[in-house]
């Protein structure tokens, strides 16, 4: 493996890691606060991507630069509408029920959203690469690459990480979310409404996933099944990091992104295998994930 291929793989890995991070941090956040593994999380990614492409195709004739606010609009719109409806009218009905039932109801939502997605956007691939083509290519150590993928995507991911940290540690709404995560009963006793916290958290997580999809839409062709693949992948990242770990998700995303990218250039058969192999190894050695705190067994 020569240097330029190594650089290419590293750039591939980092841009991919940025996208996976956005999705998995949303998944992790929702689990951390609500203790629900949202199987429909990948559908939000797919809807974000498709909505961004639809908006992009509509506004590109007016001015191609409008596609950028289009990406953001798609993410927020999808996150608020679908995320809000899901939490308010469905998940709220199953809090306190069996864990298996909570998981399964999000699986049912996944089935419905997946079907709806094919009805709305069809099964033909959709391309919406305008935002990618607007930004110039740059050269990194002799390798040409789009600046959208080398600068914009990691930039948004880092901004999200810093923003989330700030939000959770230094704002009142963030402190309220952490309080509910730590001890729901005590939080309720001091007058916090956990239902509102759940709604906020779920919408926030949904926006992050849809944002991942919206930002991914210019880099790939949109096909049915992109959400189905993304949910297990983001799950692998979140589990490797430790569910509920935000900074850990960033590290795990880079780890898995790089491993996958280097596999593509060396042993392409192992590309798909890499994330799950890492997940198995980490979970076997540290079931709480790389950064999760071990849970003391209660008697």
């Amino acid at each position: 493996m020569n240097l330029s291929i190594a650089v290419l793989a590293a750039l591939d890995g980092v841009s991919y890691a940025a996208l996976v991070f956005l999705v998995s941090v949303g998944l992790s956040l929702i689990f951390g606060v609500m203790r629900i593994v949202n199987v429909a999380h990948g559908s939000l990614y797919a809807y974000g991507a498709y909505a961004a492409a639809t908006i992009g195709i509509a506004v590109a004739p007016i001015s191609p630069w409008l596609t950028y606010p289009g990406l953001l609009l798609a993410a927020i719109g999808i996150g608020v509408v679908i995320g809000g409806l899901l939490e308010r009218f469905l998940l709220r009905l199953v809090y306190g029920k069996d864990e298996a039932l909570q998981l399964l109801i999000t699986f049912a939502v996944f089935m419905i959203l997946d079907n709806l997605q094919r009805l709305i956007w069809g099964v033909q691939p959709i391309f919406a690469a305008v935002p990618l083509q607007l930004l110039p290519n740059i050269t990194v150590l002799g390798v040409g690459y789009t600046s959208y993928q080398t600068l914009l995507l990691p930039g948004v991911a880092i901004l999200t990480l810093v923003g989330l940290r700030y939000f959770l540690r230094h704002t009142l709404s963030g402190a309220v979310i952490l309080a509910v995560t730590e001890d729901r009963e005590a939080a309720t006793a001091v007058g916090i409404d956990p239902q509102r916290v759940f709604l906020t958290t779920f919408i926030l997580g949904a926006i992050l996933s849809a944002l991942g999809g919206a930002l991914a839409s210019p880099t790939t062709s949109l096909l049915p099944g992109i959400g189905t693949d993304m949910i297990v992948l983001s799950f692998a990242v979140a589990a490797t990091a430790g569910l509920g770990q935000i900074e850990g998700a960033a590290v795990a995303a880079v780890m898995i992104g790089l491993a996958r990218a280097f596999a593509i250039y060396t042993y392409p058969e192992f590309e798909v295998l890499m994330p799950y192999l890492i997940m198995v190894l980490v979970l076997l050695l540290r079931p709480q994930g790389l950064f999760g705190a071990a849970r003391v067994r209660r008697i």
């Binding site: 049912a108 939502v109 419905i112 709806l116 692998a236 295998l273 198995v280 979970l283 079931p287």
Partner: protein
């Protein structure tokens, strides 16, 4: 046991009647019924694990192991016999279950589910990418096997396979019922209700769960080899996480409280899918999703919960 026998007997008779009479209405029902029975066998395995309170979101790996054991035999050795295939399915499911089980029984709840998911996705990506051996996403075609040494016409084969599936399903149902009623089965349930107490009694919870896990993996393998023979193909899709989700779905739909729920759930699931995809080709998945939500919200004990409730009401009334 005495309490359960009538229900099992009734179910057996209803099943027999369905298997004999329904195909007279339409030949397409033969394959459908065989699929119901084969999938029901896999879901029995999910129900066994649910007794211990554990949800495996990766059980499709055993299903795929059984199917691919059959496919590989057909590809590298030649057309075999269905009885041989079933043994292969059971053994491959069981061996894989033992190996994976040794790792996963140390974990509970979400960690158990996640690790199962991870293992199944490893198998899926191997099946998908080891193109040289597995034909990748296209899968491997499975030639029509002989049945107990006799070859059949395609139509005769489908009927005999249906009767065979019924016999195996009945045997599996009976075996699982016996297992759950045995001391080992009661210990399995104790893992859900109070694992610590179980260990205070000097029982190794891990070993109890491992026994249940291997049994459920064997059932998955048998079901997989049956489906491969029925559909005459094995694809990586068999190991994908949506397949695992489907099995858990069927278990909850039918009701995890009783082994019969597996077959009740599989029947409703496959029939809804069959007719919904014929009438509304574009929306069947949405319909199934809606059914699942309705079941979770309105009848969390599943279809079998209705029968159980009436049963109890009849006895107390």
């Amino acid at each position: 046991m005495a309490r359960r026998l009538p229900l099992l007997l009734v179910a057996g008779l209803v099943g027999l009647a369905a298997v004999v009479l329904l195909p007279l209405l339409s030949h397409s029902l033969v394959t459908l019924l065989s699929l119901v029975l084969a999938k029901g066998i896999v879901v029995l395995g999910i129900i066994v694990l649910l007794q211990a309170g554990q949800v495996s979101f990766g059980h499709a790996m055993f299903f795929a192991a059984g199917a691919y054991a059959v496919a590989f035999y057909g590809r590298y050795v030649g057309t075999g016999d269905i009885l041989l295939y079933l043994v292969f399915g059971a053994v491959s499911g069981g061996v894989l279950g033992l190996v994976v089980g040794l790792f996963v029984v140390r974990y509970r709840e979400i960690f158990f589910g996640m690790l199962n998911l991870a293992f199944s996705m490893v198998l899926w990506s191997l099946l998908e990418k080891m193109f040289h051996y597995t034909n990748g996403a296209d899968g491997i075609r499975v030639a029509r096997p002989t049945i107990a040494g006799m070859s059949f016409t395609p139509e005769g084969f489908s009927y005999v396979l249906l009767y065979l599936s019924f016999a195996i399903a009945l045997a599996a149902l009976f075996a699982v019922q016996r297992y759950l009623d045995s001391p080992l089965g009661h210990m399995l349930r104790a893992i859900k209700s109070n694992e610590t107490r179980l260990e205070y009694l000097g029982v190794s919870a891990r070993r109890v769960l491992l026994a249940g896990y291997v049994i459920s993996a064997v059932l998955g393998g048998i079901g997989g080899s049956l489906v491969a023979a029925i559909q005459q193909i094995a694809t990586p899709e068999f190991a994908y996480w949506t397949k695992s989700g489907e099995f858990v779905f069927i278990a909850i739909l039918g009701g995890a409280g009783h082994a019969l729920g597996a077959f009740a759930g599989a029947a409703v699931f496959e029939f809804v899918r069959f007719y919904a995809s014929a009438q509304l080709a574009d929306a069947w998945q949405m319909i199934l999703g809606g059914v699942l939500i309705a079941i979770i919200l309105l009848a969390p004990a599943g279809l079998i919960g209705f029968i159980g409730r009436r049963d109890r009401a009849a006895r107390s009334g």
